[in-house]
Amino acid sequence: MSEVASSKEVNQTRCRTVHIDTSVQIERCKAPRRSDRIQKALDIFGFKSTSSYAKLEFKRAWLQRLSYLYYASQQVERDDELIGFINDRLGSHPGHRNRLTTCLEGIEAFLSRINESLSPRVRLIRLQSHIRCAILGAYKWWDCSVTHEYTGTRCKRASEQPREFLDGRIDVSIPNCRRNKIECSIHRFFEQNKSIFINVKDRIIALGDKASAELTRAADIIQSAEDNPEILCDNQTCAKLGDALIAVDGSAMECFAANNDKEWQLLSEVLGKELLNPVRSTMHNRPS
């Protein structure tokens, strides 16, 4: 290949832009066996972005659960007591199923790679150190994983990175947000992009029963926010609009990368973007 052709190819690669959803970001930071395929699919994009709201979801979906695992590890004396401790507290409650699954997966993944010659106490210290390392290094990884992070909603909770107290406890809390103490710009972000959100809502309504439960909830929230955007300034409410917020935040990008097709196919169509699912290696072209 000539130098000129090579340079042109590099420039073309640089021009491609992608906006990455939480689901793909989570897959990207997993073990190489799982993340390599995703990284390769994203390598064609010279500019990768995500949204600060995706970071909040990442914190809630993974870091908070690891934080619980860390807490649990401090309540037992040996690593082989940990699963019992977690099962006793989370196992019987259906609402804790996702949290339980994440904790057990974390323990299973870790145990599959450890040396059995270490004593249970040493293994426990080792597990605690790895969890601490994972939680406290996660935001750094996040920042390095993209070229740019859009912060349209100015989500305060997303900007609060995990921290360690002097006594060794880790703070990954996400305090409630309330309308009587607004600390973000989600309401202004909604106003600025109101027509897009209304388009999203109309498309969801047009889907009828085929719309996922998550999309239906999002349509209801958009409907309510049309008259009063400040209703979004509540963590219970904004969470129901998550994917739409992330998508609109990255509307300047050419392509979306997400792993939850049900929601993102509709969002990509409304915003006129290609949709890449790097986890399953599928690409949906933008509508003509």
Partner: protein, 186 residues
């Protein structure tokens, strides 16, 4: 490697024996006052095996607090320095040895500081997630090992190494994630 492990688990050796092991392995001769070694050691023909005939006294454990097993660290650095120019097979062998040493370092890390433990966790996570390290990755692995050989570490050491690992493509979350094929999104 398991012999090296045995050496650390049991907690010490006589100064003379330690010196022999250190010289055979090309490692510096560590003072008994640092490690508090005070036991009988047997060494095999290669000089790489060490086995204690009786448990180390309590004071040895106290003296060793706050510092990781220096012999293991020295050996690990030697292995890291051996990657240059080696083929894929040799790299796999080296990496597996490195993993074994890092795993055994946890025995002495239990009595060390949280900063040592954090750097060791980052190091272990990194070497468990690669098949063949790049030069850049080897550089940060070596840096972590050098830090671990320090008796006094600070949060700044941890932060710097953490940044280095991330910038070299290591994910701090990799070791706690499943590796099965992914079927669906969040």
């Amino acid at each position: 490697m398991s012999d090296l492990n045995c050496f650390e688990i049991t907690g010490g050796a006589t100064a003379e024996a330690q010196s022999i092991v250190a010289q055979t392995m090309g490692a510096p001769d560590y003072s008994p006052s640092v490690r508090g070694y005070d036991s009988t050691l047997t060494i095999d023909a290669n000089g790489e095996a060490a086995q204690l005939s009786r448990p180390a006294p309590i004071h040895a454990t106290k003296d060793a607090r706050g510092i990781l097993d220096q012999l293991l660290l020295t050996r690990a650095i030697e292995i890291v320095d051996s990657f240059e120019g080696c083929d894929v097979i040799d790299a796999s062998v080296n990496l597996e040895s490195l993993r074994g040493i890092v795993s055994q370092l946890w025995n002495s890390a239990v009595g060390s500081t949280r900063f040592h433990q954090d750097i060791l966790a980052g190091l272990e996570s990194a070497i468990l997630s690669i098949e063949v390290p790049t030069l850049g990755q080897l550089s940060v692995i070596r840096e972590a090992l050098t830090d671990l050989s320090q008796k006094v570490l600070t949060q700044a050491h941890v932060e710097i190494i953490r940044s280095e690992f991330v910038s070299r493509g290591f994910s701090p979350l990799a070791l706690l994630s499943n590796t099965e094929a992914c079927e669906d999104g969040e």
